[in-house]
């Protein structure tokens, strides 16, 4: 019988409920930040900087609304 982890009969703690959940937003935000700063170095092609900024904004939002 399959039991989903949200409906547990007993009060037992599982590893998944005690460990902090994984997330990809930290590495995505870090990469976006790096891209933005590389964009500052390569300001002769400002598109890189602006793509980086866009990704940073998306990452902030994604991080914020992520369900934990």
């Amino acid at each position: 019988m399959q039991i989903s982890k949200n409906h547990r009969a007993s009060n037992e703690a599982t590893e998944q409920s005690i460990k902090p959940k994984q997330s990809y937003w930290p590495i995505v935000l870090a990469a976006s930040l790096t891209l933005t700063l590389i964009g500052v170095i390569l300001m002769s092609h400002p598109i890189i900087f602006w793509i980086g900024v866009a990704f940073v904004i998306v990452s902030f939002v994604g991080w914020g609304i992520e369900r934990r």
Binding site: A13, E15, I18, S23, P26, I27, L29, L33, I38, W63
Partner: protein
Amino acid sequence: MATRTITEGVSIARRRRLSETYIGDWLMTTDHKKLGIMYMVTGFFFFLVGGVDALLIRTQLAQPNGKVLSPDVYNQIFTMHAITMIFLFVMPMLTGLGNYIVPLMIGARDMAFPRLNAFGYWVVLFGGLFLTSSFLFGAAPNVGWFAYAPLTELSGAGTTSCGNAVLCTPGPNMDFWALGILMLGISSIAGSINFVVTILKLRAPGMTINRMPLFTWMTLITAFLLLFSLPSVSMASILILLDRHLGTHFYVAGFGGDPLLWQHLFWSFGHPEVYILILPAFGIISEVLPVFSRKPIFGYTFIAWSGVAIGFLSFTVWAHHMFAVGLPLVAQAFFATSTTLIAIPTAVKIFNWLGTTWGGKLSFKPPMLFALGFIAMFLIGGLNGAALAIVPFDYQVTDTYFVVAHLHYVLFGGTVFGIFAGIFYWFPKITGKLLNERLAQVQFWLMLIGVNLTFFPMHILGLLGMPRRIYTYPDKLGWNEMNLIATIGAFTLGVAILVFIWNFVVTLRSGEAAGTDPWDAFTLEWDTESPPKPYNFLEIPTVRSRRPFYDKKNPETADWKSMTH
């Protein structure tokens, strides 16, 4: 209450998510132990990079009129040596150790902000790669790690290009510096917020501030120092970027700016930074010495609060890096006073560590070797540092190899020895294996000899008039022998590190199993499996003294029975 158990989750047959693959697990992890390991591995990698920089420098300086490195390459390498060692080795390494150990020490299941923790790590990795990649463009920062203006400006004052004399820094070298520092600052701020909240809010029941381990104390103070000092250098970096790219003149005299503004802003960060580099090492020593002396740390309260005093005072001493710039004498006297003052809590710590070993039962396992070596070498760094506070003497030796001697005695003889003490101490907890003792002894003696061979002659070179940051020096000035000795010492240190790497590899492959408590230690992190389970503790313990694990193992002579804390 029924017995607590923690079970593995129910698994359902389906395609593996990214987070369940080996790589995906590491890329998406928010677990403080995994991130601690990642920080430390990254830090150690950059230690090797910075070490190669150092060996290149010493090869160039082994003889007068060296031709190993051109001046341009040399200037990039000595700049990057410092930046790599400070920002990409020591800080990540100490953050990593703190990340792994502090939650365990305080009886927590993880840090307060797990995603922020991961973010801090990835920024260090990407920032470090970004900064180091500058070498590939031939444009690594080449203005010294302290990057004084107006050398870092884009063009000479009043002109739009630098001409042949390379008056300033026309290439992106300085942009790499500023952006790299901004990135690494962001990482440290994220990490510091995490440490402050974790330590203040997630301690186990009964663990008051006055009962938490000293490594945790020092990490907390360090986190506050980072939070209050990083804004200074971040601001300075932004201002130089504005000067270079948007035509402002914050640091250019003749347009209303002042080169000294940079120095004040930089050293307002730079001085707390050096305490950031040493305080966690003080914490490690304060953990190791008691365990290997079989008695508690002597003067816990004094060590803890002298750390706090150092933290506060570190914001009052910055201009002792600027005694020669022409500040009014009264200002110099103020900074001489504050610098003298900060020597006192540091001395108190050394005496308390000696008090810990006094009357103890000392065993010289590898962590203890490095802890004792730390005391011996840091003392020298403290003495020559106190000498630099004596302003008229400083006028002679500032910006000479005397200062290079000082900073390396405290950073290598101090922090690096402290880091190795921590590595040897906690390696069995992290991996479940014991590093080889014989190899550790070889490494220790090579390092002790190497540090003194490399850096003691630099005191003499400074007294004999050799300036810092010169890519070569002439013959017949009496500097040749000391430089050669220093180079030999540097390669000795290189061999010592190779011995460590060998030890590390061999132990991971076939090392002796460590068990949960190989050192019969006192603090909570040892009351777990080796390595600890993902959830750290089956039950969060209740703490009644400063040595909760000692109490558990020795209920008749437990600390809480005799102490009122």
